[in-house]
């Protein structure tokens, strides 16, 4: 049997968030992908990647939402559902907290970005994902 460092299992969970963010995926699903209990998984994920799995999944969704706002004319509600979030209200709140402007204002600030056309999707995903350290939901995960 090949040697597999524990981080490789955590990467499976991170890959799952990146691949299936548009589905009703939650931290329990990510923990299952890593083969760990939820509490142990959240701790180990944070140790490996510097943020909670919840924060990673939410910022992936917000990054994808921002991309859809920039590159499509789909409604905010449609964008919200398309990135796997259920409530337009909490989507708008999270988005505004993260990007500093509402989804509608964000869209208005970005003209079509053909200039970025040649940059690989993985680079776009990695470099435009927002960083936040103060998700309210995180404190629940951390202390729970």
């Amino acid at each position: 049997m090949a040697f597999v460092p524990p981080a490789r299992h955590l990467l499976r969970a991170k890959d799952l968030a990146d691949a299936r963010y548009f589905e009703p995926l939650d931290v329990d699903d990510l923990a299952r992908a890593a083969g760990l209990s939820r509490a142990h998984f959240s701790r180990e994920f944070r140790r490996a990647f510097g943020e909670s799995p919840h924060a990673y999944l939410l910022t992936r969704r917000l990054e994808r939402a921002a991309a859809l706002l920039r590159t499509t004319d789909r409604s905010v509600a449609d964008v919200c559902v398309s990135v796997g979030l259920q409530s337009v209200g909490s989507f708008t709140t999270s988005f505004t907290r993260t990007f500093g402007v509402s989804p509608t204002a964000y869209r208005a600030a970005f003209p079509p970005a053909a200039v970025h056309a040649l940059i690989p999707a993985c680079v776009v995903h990695a470099y435009s994902r927002p960083q936040r350290s103060t998700f309210r939901e995180d404190s629940v995960t951390t202390h729970g």
Partner: protein
């Protein structure tokens, strides 16, 4: 003219990597040489058929080549997916996705339309990141 001849990826297990690159990705074994006087160092390279470039499937060494702490860091970085990336191209991303998927390659991204073409992604067993892209110019030719 400078040409890229060989490049290297860290792998956690050379036998596992060899099976993945040859049996699942369909690459050719280029060299597999174990050198007794070099502590049984194993020079293992593979490459895509019809192309000169080779990829070294390099085991993460221990001391004295690499101190134990660094080796652990490299192992962990590879496992976290931060050690290596290869950009592959294909003439038909959907067909390659089906073919590789049928051989057990686990994709992290299904083929999707991007401004530069149709793009997908998978990882090798060690966590190295592969993109598999049908570049726009190729598709339109």
């Amino acid at each position: 003219m400078l040409k890229i001849a060989t490049t290297q990826l860290w792998v956690h297990d050379q036998d596992e990597a060899l099976a993945f690159y040859t049996e699942k990705l369909g690459m050719e074994l280029r060299s597999d040489v174990t050198v007794a006087e070099m502590g049984n160092f194993r020079w293992l390279t593979v490459g895509p058929a019809g192309q000169e470039i080779s990829v070294v499937l390099m085991a993460i060494p221990g001391p004295p080549v690499m101190d134990a702490v660094t080796a652990d860091q490299v192992r962990e970085l590879a496992g976290k997916g931060f050690a290596g990336t290869v950009f592959l191209t294909t003439e038909d991303c959907e067909a390659s996705y089906e073919e590789l998927g049928a051989r057990g390659v686990e994709f992290t991204e299904r083929p999707e339309e991007r401004p530069y073409g149709i793009d997908s992604a998978f990882r090798d067993p060690s966590g190295n990141h592969f993109r598999l892209t049908q570049v726009r110019e190729l598709a339109e030719r």
